[in-house]
Homo-oligomer: 301 residues x 2
């Protein structure tokens, strides 16, 4: 089945203690779409870039089988640019700059062939924009959305309206605490369920992720990596990998979502082994299966 | 089989946002011994208290079947007292006071009946003292020790000598980073293995614990608790529960240690539901089994 990804498509500048890269391919939509593309589905990407966006980047996305009909190119516009710097331990990230450019006025209209796609991933974005996508979708089987502190603080009401319409909210632990004002993650997740989603997935970085519904609790391990190169996009790779796996099995059950979260964790682990989506370019399906099996072994008792 | 616990036996004053308790039963040795006592083994406790130590507390420990031959009572001494305060989210703890008292000159000598006990848990203590226990043990099957930032900073050499003599080092994530100077936990754990232990167990609080050997990686979930009352002693309850289970099955295999870590996590989860060891007094074995099964279900994919 198909996966629709709505997110940013950006030119990123990333500094780590060992290296700096400039204007590399990035953005939540890119990380999620590339991650979803490993599982043999149609992946459709909705986003916007400027005239300056390198054709080499869109060519690459197309070699991954990603449908770019929904990627608007604004002729007189500049692409969204983001710059960030990581500290030695990669747990602290400073945003150096954010140039919204073409993204500021983006009002996505779904191409006809995107409207009945069953798996929707709405990466972190304005909740108003996320809601407008849901309203254009005619056949959603699973709607998953992400959010962040900015929208929690600035567009609370729209975010609550969005939460009433999604099946799964996926967010970081700090965002779950911010959204609910509760430091206890179990209580925070339970409080989020009351806004409407059937499931809350809380991402905890190197500590994995948890999934909570009214009747289930799942603890997904992170893949243990001795070498981190660039964590940018890990959360979107996790979500995209999860969606790609779910679409490939056509599932939304608890069991399918658990496997999907672990596949997401595996794809995210590859993502952070190199800048941009460079590591993803070299990942074979057999490597994904191998790490999945390692995590199964790591969780067994 | 028997478990020998060497640790502190203290009078604790604990403040949380909702309550304050004074001079309650605490200490690493107490938390670990009580946790180990759930699994039907002989548990022997080595520690020291002053003349002021309430008989009600030692009576309670004895009702748990804990052998107190190794608990010295210094007639003209005062018990170790510790005071701490937790912030709203329980992730920040301030130590209000530490009065070492009788612990300062404590040189434990193992009673004859303790010497050939196979399972040794050396709770956080001076590495010199921990080493002296190992030298008195005649039949150790598994030696597990804990440590903390103070010893890492102040008695590095003695600590390294200790690490060459233990089977398992158990410590917090921040301590693993401090000991190795490496922010990456996987690399930090691998570096610790080179000091001698066959296994490193890194405790990560609400994120569970990981176990690393040269050839294995295990991700133990924490039990998800919506209500935390007092986290004091959680780490020692985890270790003690783990040792108690291992002694009850007579095991040291990877499979046994994995189950033991999850039993440890379960016992720790009860511990933090009340002050001191109050919740432990009311825990039935059936409750421990039920939470163990819940964690099995939570880790399944």
């Amino acid at each position: 089945m198909g996966v629709l990804v709505v997110g940013t498509v950006t030119l990123d500048t990333v500094e780590t203690p060992s290296k700096r890269v400039e204007d590399v391919l990035g953005g939540s939509g890119v990380y999620a779409a590339v991650a979803a593309s490993f599982f043999g589905n149609i992946v459709q990407l909705v986003g916007v870039v400027g005239a300056d966006f390198p054709h080499a980047y869109t060519d690459f996305l197309q070699t991954r089988g990603i449908d770019l009909q929904g990627l608007e190119r604004v002729k007189d516009g500049k692409s969204f640019r983001w710059g960030g710097r990581y500290a030695e331990d990669f747990n602290v990230r400073d945003t150096l700059f954010t140039e919204l450019n073409v993204i500021e006025d983006f009002q996505p209209i779904l191409p006809e062939t995107y409207k009945d796609t069953p798996y929707l991933f709405l990466a972190n974005n304005s909740p108003v924009l996320q809601l407008s996508i849901i309203e254009q979708a005619t056949n959603p089987k699973l709607i998953v959305c992400d959010t962040m502190d900015f929208w929690i603080n600035e567009q609370r009401e729209a975010l609550e309206a969005l939460l009433a319409r999604v099946d799964v909210l996926i967010l970081n632990d700090s965002e779950a605490r911010l959204l609910t004002g509760d430091a206890n993650l179990v209580r925070a997740a339970e409080a989020i369920l009351r806004y409407g989603p059937e499931r809350v997935i809380v991402k905890k970085g190197e500590h994995g992720a948890i999934s909570i519904t009214e009747s289930s609790y799942f603890n997904a391990p992170a893949y243990p990596l001795a070498q981190v190169t660039d964590p940018t996009g890990a959360g979107d790779s996790f979500a995209g990998g999860m969606m790609g796996y779910l679409a490939s099995v056509g599932g939304t059950s608890e069991a399918a979502i658990r496997s999907a979260m672990v596949y997401g964790a595996v794809v995210a682990s590859f993502n952070i082994e190199d800048f941009s989506v460079n590591r993803q370019k070299r990942v074979a399906l057999a490597e994904i299966s191998a790490r999945y099996q390692e995590l199964q072994e790591a969780a067994r008792f």
